[in-house]
């Protein structure tokens, strides 16, 4: 009796464990199915990202290549689209905590991120650029940036943070985490430059008459950009991988890139 009951208990534990395992597999078979069931796909974006996913504070209108791409994805999946505001500092958290199904805002593939996220194939690749104030007397060329007395602003969590930490020897780094903070710091003269990439710099310069672009003399650090998702879901990854392949092949990516002047950094 003790033995049987023990066997029963063990069996029931095993079964229940089996059942739990089975049920959990049934509940999350794949995110693709979830998206279809929910009839909407949640896309994380960074609304300060010029040329990629930029929300104009005056009109609240979203524009950028990844706004177009997210719409294309929703259409391909046959579901509605929901944008979720995120940022590079919150990216890993937002994706892994299931606040969105995919992050689509030109996410640079870095080893730090790869440890926590899964990426599609790259679709853009950008070098690093600096933006300074036109009246700034300290920064004239790229070489003036890493000098004693210079202050370089970067946004927390962006791919620039580890790179600049690594590369800057003499300049002071100013890491910021509030919207548009790096622009304010440079404009007020509290920092000399802020680091950014090709899409942001291009779009930003067209609308900021006080700003000046500082380009590296040679290739500084090219980073491939892709879409990121939580790791472990092969079906969902395969579907997104297929989407990127599709938009590259059928020209939708190129059309959008052309629309947002990003053709020079397109990965075909």
């Amino acid at each position: 009796m003790r033995l049987t009951s023990m066997v029963f208990v063990l069996a029931s534990i095993f079964y229940s464990a089996l059942c739990w395992a089975q049920s959990s597999a049934v509940i999350h078979p794949t995110r693709l199915q979830d998206v279809r069931n929910a009839k909407k796909v949640r896309v994380c974006i960074w609304p300060d990202y010029y040329g990629i996913t930029y929300r104009n504070p005056k009109t609240q209108q979203l524009t950028g290549i990844d706004v177009d791409m997210a719409q294309a994805l929703a259409k391909d999946l046959g579901v509605k689209l929901e944008f979720v505001d995120s940022s590079f500092s919150k990216l890993v958290e937002d994706v892994t905590q299931n606040r969105c199904d995919v992050a689509m805002f030109a996410i640079g593939i870095t080893p730090q991120r790869q440890a926590k996220l899964r990426f599609t194939q790259p679709y853009l690749a950008s070098d690093i650029y600096a933006i300074t104030s036109k009246a700034n007397r300290r920064i004239k060329t790229w070489a003036d940036i890493d000098q004693a007395g210079s202050v370089v602003a970067i946004v927390k969590g962006t791919l620039h943070e580890p790179i600049m930490r690594d590369r800057l020897k003499n300049a002071k780094l100013m890491v910021l985490d509030t919207p548009f903070a790096r622009e304010q710091e440079v404009q007020s003269g509290r920092s000399d430059v802020f680091m950014t990439d090709y899409p942001y710099s291009q779009r930003f310069l067209t609308n900021a008459d006080w700003a000046r672009l500082v380009t590296p003399d040679s290739v500084y650090h090219i980073t491939p950009y892709a879409y990121a998702m939580a790791p472990g879901d092969d079906v969902w990854h395969t579907r997104l991988e297929k989407f990127v392949t599709d938009v590259k092949r059928d020209g939708r990516l190129q059309t959008a890139a052309k629309r947002h002047q990003l053709e020079p950094i397109l990965v075909r």
Partner: protein
């Protein structure tokens, strides 16, 4: 030649005047455009100074309001750390501010948006305006060379302009220091004025440079002098041209802040302002210069053509004059050139030769002076009439020489008209034809008179008889035709020779002629035959005394070389009566027949022709 030179000089002067006028007009227009350009750029400079002054004043004023508000509220209930965070929050929307701090009474930073500033001392004695009794005034400090108070950077690459506001606190004296970011304002000004166009600078009223759009050497220039030149005590804004140390001319305008101790000075480069003017000058000159050259070329070409034409004209006139003068002087014909009013203008040598008047005597006179009076008034009237209608007249007339001799001339007068047909001159050409006229008269005489006796011959006789017959017809009178034949003439001729015969003929004929009346005609019919025509007879008997005298005249002896030669005459008479239509030939034949009867009857008598009974009517008269 002299005229040509004078013409050339006149043309040259005209061209110079034209060029001067064009140059003056062009220069004036360009000068106007230039002063316009300078003026409008000066205005732009003034507008800029005003706009920047306004922007800076407004910004400082708004900042003063918002920050002192925050500081006053904050100090009351929050800690220094919290207030610092609040300042940081304020800075987010204020790119014109570098930092915000609060100074305690000792001038130490007790609160700051930048934690690095805390505890630092800030010297504010030299901030403008200077205050003695602690008036609550906004004061502007010397630019701090460095990013913030905690940092100093002698290179001046980053600077900060501290502005001090007193905080309203009853017990403690505290100040708020706003670190103004000059780059923000410089950026703003650079939007309108970059280095290629000009410079905008903002000075504290003591001449200290606060900010400049010039990139290099903010402290390098002796700015206080510049500001002193503005004489800000007298006027707070103005505009003028100024020259920089490097020789660049600037269109300068300045304006003092309406609230704070600073002045905005804007300099626009004059050469840049005049760039458009330069292109305008080029464009205008590109149009004007080729146009002027074209006009000059055309004028020179026309002038040269006109000169050539004039020279050709003069040459042809000269040749014409030479020709005309040659003809005039050497002509055998007399030539008179008279004005339209009839005054003699010129005469040639032949005129003098023909008329005897010299050129000096003739000029100014009327050609009427040559008139002989042989032509009547009607003649001249006709001549003038023809001259007026046809433009020329030609004919013969008699004139009188200076010595009174009358001569005949053949004269052609031509009226010389101008292009509209008004008579300018009369040209008369004439030849003396007196000799011709005399010869002609001689020929006429020879044709009508007998050479030996100088009596009318048979041709003239026919004329005279015809006239007499017509006259008799009109007057109802009689004409007697007397056929005369000398008796015994042949014997005289044969015996004494032709000389004696000719003497007898001339003598007898002149005696017979003298026996007749003036109106009667005696003609020689040939040989020793004569015909007399007796006119104006009322009856046949009227003829009888004449017949008797004729017989007597014929029979009178003629002395010839100591001899007395004598002939007689046999006369045959026929009568022409108006009632009878007897022809001339019949009359002569009848007279001839009657003469024959007289011869038959014994000579030295007359016989009258009787149509019916010629013999009965025969009468004999014995010569006495």
């Amino acid at each position: 030649m002299e005229t040509r030179q004078r013409d050339g000089l006149r043309f040259f002067l005209a061209m110079v005047v034209f060029l001067a006028a064009v140059a003056a007009m062009t220069s004036y227009s360009l000068w106007l455009l230039r002063s316009d350009a300078v003026h409008s750029s000066l205005n732009a400079s003034a507008l800029m100074a005003r706009s920047f002054e306004n922007f800076l004043t407004q910004t400082i004023s708004a900042t003063e309001f918002s920050t002192t508000n925050a500081a006053n509220q904050g100090s009351a209930r929050t800690s220094a750390a919290h207030m610092g965070a609040e300042f940081t929050q304020l800075l987010r929307q204020a790119p014109h501010l570098r930092s915000l701090s609060v100074l305690d009474a000792q001038g130490r930073i007790v609160v700051s948006s930048n934690p690095a500033n805390l505890g630092l001392s800030v010297t504010t004695q030299d901030y403008l305006p200077l205050v003695q009794q602690g008036q609550a005034a906004l004061r502007i400090g010397k630019p701090w060379l460095g990013r913030d108070f905690h940092e100093t950077d002698a290179s001046g690459a980053t600077s900060l302009i501290p502005v001090l506001y007193p905080l309203e606190e009853a017990d403690v004296l505290r100040h708020l220091v706003a670190g103004f970011n000059p780059d923000f304002f410089v950026n703003h000004m650079l939007q309108q004025v970059d280095e290629k166009v000009g410079v905008v600078e903002i000075f504290r009223l003591d001449g200290l440079l606060l900010m400049s759009t010039r990139f290099q050497g903010q402290g390098a220039m002796p700015h206080s002098d510049d500001v002193a030149k503005l004489k800000l005590g007298e006027r707070e804004f103005g505009q003028f041209e100024s020259t920089f140390n490097n020789g660049q001319v600037m269109l300068t305008a300045f304006r003092v802040s309406s609230l704070y101790p600073f002045v905005v000075v804007s300099h626009l480069r004059r050469d840049v302002a005049l760039e458009r003017w330069h292109t305008e000058v080029q464009a205008i000159l590109w149009v004007v210069v080729p146009s002027v050259i074209l006009v000059l070329v055309v004028a020179v070409v026309l002038y040269r053509r006109q000169r050539l034409f004039k020279a050709q004209q003069a040459e042809s006139q000269r040749l014409q004059r030479i020709n005309a003068a040659c003809v005039f002087d050497n002509s055998r014909e007399g030539i008179i050139i008279a004005s339209a009013e009839g005054r003699i203008i010129d005469v040639n040598a032949a005129f003098t030769r023909i008329t005897g008047y010299s050129r000096a005597e003739a000029i100014g006179k009327n050609p009427r002076m040559l008139s002989s009076g042989r032509q009547d008034k009607a003649f001249y009237q006709k001549m003038w009439q023809e001259l007026k209608t046809n433009g020329h007249w030609s004919g013969e007339l008699w004139n009188r020489r200076k010595d009174g001799e009358v001569y005949a001339e053949i004269l052609t007068i031509s009226a010389v008209s101008d292009s509209v047909g008004t008579v300018q001159q009369y040209v008369s050409v004439f030849t003396n034809i007196t000799a011709m006229k005399i010869y002609q008269t001689e020929l006429e005489h020879i044709a009508r008179f007998d050479a030996l006796t100088n009596l009318p011959n048979r041709i003239l006789l026919a004329d005279r008889l015809q006239q007499a017959m017509s006259q008799a017809q009109r007057r109802q009178s009689l004409v007697a035709v007397v056929f005369i034949d000398l008796d015994g003439f042949k014997a005289v001729n044969d015996t004494h020779g032709h000389e004696a015969g000719d003497l007898v003929l001339t003598t007898v004929s002149s005696r017979m002629r003298a026996a007749l009346r003036d109106g009667d005609t005696l003609a020689r019919n040939g040989g020793d035959e004569f015909v007399a025509v007796l006119v104006d007879l009322l009856c046949r008997d009227d003829a009888m005394p004449l017949l008797v005298r004729l017989l007597a005249a014929a029979a009178e002896p003629v002395a010839f070389a100591d001899m007395r030669l004598q002939v007689s005459a046999s006369l045959g008479v026929s009568f022409y009566e108006a009632q009878q239509a007897t022809s001339m030939d019949d009359l002569l034949r009848q007279a001839d027949a009657a003469m024959y009867q007289a011869k038959q009857a014994g000579k030295n008598r007359y016989a009258i022709y009787q149509a019916a009974c010629a013999s009965e009517m025969q009468k004999t008269l014995v010569s006495t």
